[in-house]
Amino acid sequence: MISGVSGDSAGQAPARRHGGRGPFIESLLLATVALAVLNFHPFGSAHLRRHFSQDLIYAWFGDAEWLHPRLPGSAGLRLAPPRAVVMLVDDAALALRGAAWPVPAAFHAQLLTELEVLRPRAVMLDFLLLDRPPSDDICALLAAADRLRSDRIPVYLAVTRQEDLSRLMNANCMDDAGKPLRADEVLIPVSVRRQADETDFVSRRYPFEEADFEQPDEAVGQGAEGGAPGLPSAAVRIYCDMAAQRDRCAADLERGALPQAGFELAWSPRGDPFNRRWSKAGCGGPPASLRAIVDRTMFPRETGCPPIATLFASALLSPAEDSALGANNEQLFDLVEGSTVFIGGNFRASGDLITTPMHTLLPGVYYHAVAFENLAIFGGKPKIREEFRRFPLGIYLYDWCVLWALAAIFVWREKWIGADAEAMHHGPLSPSLSARAWVAHLIARTPVALSLSLLVVASLFLAAYPVLQLWTLIAAIVTAVCIEVRVASRGELKERLRNVGLYLGALGLSLTVVAFAIWFGYRWLRLPPGDWVGYLSFSTVGFFVAHTAIVDFGRHVGSIRLTRTASGGVS
């Protein structure tokens, strides 16, 4: 391995002559190379790495308050922002009212009427009414939505195009007072288009709007840039309708993002406690870090308990389905009153399922509920990836500054180690020369065939039985320490301890820089945690050690410049 200061002797001179400029330029060079390597992905592999890195962060720390803040608990349901509640309609719920798939509009009307008792803050129907329902059913649905509207409970309806709402028009529906009911007055159309990552089809992003939505003629020309405005996505519209700055809300959310961009969804591994009543899977958080490593559960695992409180429509429609909601429905009122209710289907045949970083298949309505809750918990400042920024250069400049700080710490550590070529050549965690010599002699006394065979067998076992790898690693570390203590001289041990101390000090400082960078980027620049694992890999300084060739090259260039200057050439 090439050390940061193991260049040729010609390269040492300019570094010394430059004084303070040497480390400055070296760290700058290292940071620049690091940025290039971190973002060099001609075949798109960096996206995969970022996705997995982000999933890992949420799987480990997704239940932490600093990463995934919580909304007020059940005691504060009426406080803004309201919590999201998912209501799942399934075959059992339809059967309770003598209905069957596809869900008839009259069933939606009944559900809305029943929900009216619970006084939710808003209701979203995540159902596409693809076929025109019978007029009576249309009128029942519009009348139910109108009653909710009169109670100041907006009803949002999923649409994919303008015709979806037009199907509910011209039914000659009247309210109780004989006033005509219009679908576009009592129902608020919202987009339910999804965004999924192309590389693994996982729903990590949520669109702000559906830009190519076909608007009615009168809407054309009202867009900010002369075109028709897009149709807001469900979560965005619902959140903005509740926001204090309602008119500016959507624009504020999208500030700095490219058209048709989406914001990043933070998926929590912790299931909502309400779901314990029906979930077979545990609704706790991720395992403790040590247990995760030892039990090999450190990678994202399937979570069976959804992160949003979920009420089955059948439980609402019949106490026989869930008789434990309180003698006077206290738990039902606690859950739904003042909440934003997202009604969706749980029908396997519908295909309305999503894959999330923590769920193989989840009913699609959770996508909108989680997006809404993300907007609420992040105070309307959702996380947006670099590639969806209008000014990505600024974000990468921030990355570069962070890497420069890490590189400066590395260079500082190398300087502190000093000119001891032997120590630097092997690094603080590599075996000393004495230990290497001792091991070499031990192996040399063994027949070549035997030692090679042992090596091959060990490698095969480690590959075939990964559970051995962790224990082998621990055994190797203990053995190495024992050998060092036994064979190394007092001076070598002292030097080793000093270097290890410097290494740990530099590591701690680097981690502090990384922690600050993560906090600042997450909190103020709205950056998702896609690059956090990358930062951490740089903080261990292994990357810089592997790329110090650029420093040697820089020194070589510097020596040429000095030579030319000394001979009267260009300075």
Partner: protein
């Protein structure tokens, strides 16, 4: 309800293993706790469970489907706070009232969700746990200290219920 893209079709093939959606459906079924509900004899509705909010009523029937009819306060259905007879019930979910005028004419007999009303079955099952009530010869009702009105003895057909004294 959404179109089925190719990806979801592929996911459906993988569904039987660890799908939370499947777990959700199974868990919901297993969580059901059957009650006597509609099967109880002489079933009556004794009060609302809606925080005094209007009761949503449905019209229609199982064969032709149900639709919302209107929402009315309990006092509109039972001005004297008397128990209401249940004509029929539909899958433990809807209870049919004898009332066919609460939502105006031409709505037929109305239905109310069992979720929003307290039935005599509920009252009796709760009453047997902690309280006792009985009809006195004077026609009034008496109950133990924990009794909450109305008192609905299961073996009687009260003409009227009265608060316990």
């Amino acid at each position: 309800m959404k179109p089925v893209p190719m990806m979801f079709a592929m996911l459906l093939l993988l569904a039987p293993t660890f799908a939370p959606a499947q777990a959700v459906a199974q868990a919901a079924t297993s969580a059901s706790a059957p009650r006597a509900g509609c099967a109880a004899a002489n079933l009556r509705i004794v009060g609302p469970r809606t925080k005094d909010r209007p009761l949503p009523l449905m019209s229609g029937d199982g064969a032709h489907g149900f639709r919302p009819a209107c929402s009315v306060p309990w006092s509109a259905l039972s001005p004297r706070n008397e128990p209401l007879s249940v004509e029929a019930c539909f899958r433990d979910s809807l209870l049919q009232l004898t009332n066919d005028s609460a939502c105006g004419a031409s709505k037929g007999k109305l239905w109310v969700s069992a979720r929003w009303v307290l039935t005599s079955t509920d009252a009796a099952s709760e009453g047997t746990k902690v309280v006792v009530c009985q009809q006195l010869e004077t026609g009034a009702y008496a109950g133990t200290r924990e009794l909450k009105p109305p008192c609905v003895p299961a073996n009687a057909t009260p003409a009227a219920s009265a608060p316990a004294h």
